[in-house]
Subunit: 151 residues, 2 copies
């Protein structure tokens, strides 16, 4: 079963996240591609210019790859508190690996995480999330431009 | 005068861009923050995982700073054709400077650019754009999360 996640629900959930996040941070990292739109809107909301991307490949279409690859780490020399954002914490592999790599590279930076969706079966729980997920989510950024094309 | 640019118009314009862009590229760079959401949707549309951000500070609220700062250049070692995307090419200073810095760093990579809006008075024209702009645009990613808060 696929659940269509539209723009209006995204705004509602993003507002919910901003009400839940009780922490001051100076930098936002969006896990690309899924976390990019959320990182953009949160950057605007908190008026933070330090909005970076980090790249991961964990899925090839809907097939999970054996190992998640992380690349293009941002430079966090001037960061103290970094919020990592993603669309969904599914298995948790991606967030867990991103955290491990960033903490190793920047041991004095504090990292916390937020996502729109969280699956209770994930190996790691984000500090803040809007909804629990139990089905495959078709996010609007994945499907709305395709029009009649299907995934 | 402020013009509100909503999500539905963004999807229409993004589709328009995908119809105009007659070029194959392997990498997308979104100029943060403004270009991030567009870079996300184009990355999904073209199924490109190499969606990066580059950071610039050119405006402080609506006050233009004297000099645009560029930071957090992505690693383009494996890129050949890179599409740079932004929300608006206004004065053109940002796009022009981003191009200059990237070309200097990666002289063998081909860079082209696309934006949602372009002001005819800009010093540089993107290769592709959806609309001409003559007023200040309130993009949905800037205002929709704020709710009743004004800019």
């Amino acid at each position: 079963m696929h659940y269509y996640y539209g723009y209006n629900e995204f705004i509602k959930d993003s507002k919910d996240l901003t009400q839940k996040i009780d922490w001051g941070f100076d930098t936002i990292i969006g896990i690309a591609r899924g976390g990019l739109t959320l990182s953009h809107l949160l950057g605007e909301f908190y008026n933070i210019r330090q909005v970076y991307a980090i790249n991961t490949i964990g899925y090839e279409n809907t097939q999970k790859l054996e190992k998640t690859k992380i690349f293009n780490l941002p430079n966090l020399e001037n960061a103290k508190n970094v919020l990592i954002v993603d669309d969904i914490v599914d298995s948790g592999d991606t967030l867990s690996l991103v955290l491990a790599i960033l903490i190793k590279e920047y041991p004095c930076v504090t990292f916390k995480s937020a996502s729109l969706f969280y699956k209770p079966t994930a190996c790691i729980k984000p500090n803040w999330y809007a909804q629990e997920a139990n089905v495959w989510i078709d996010f609007f950024w994945t499907v709305d431009l395709l029009g009649s094309k299907s995934r």
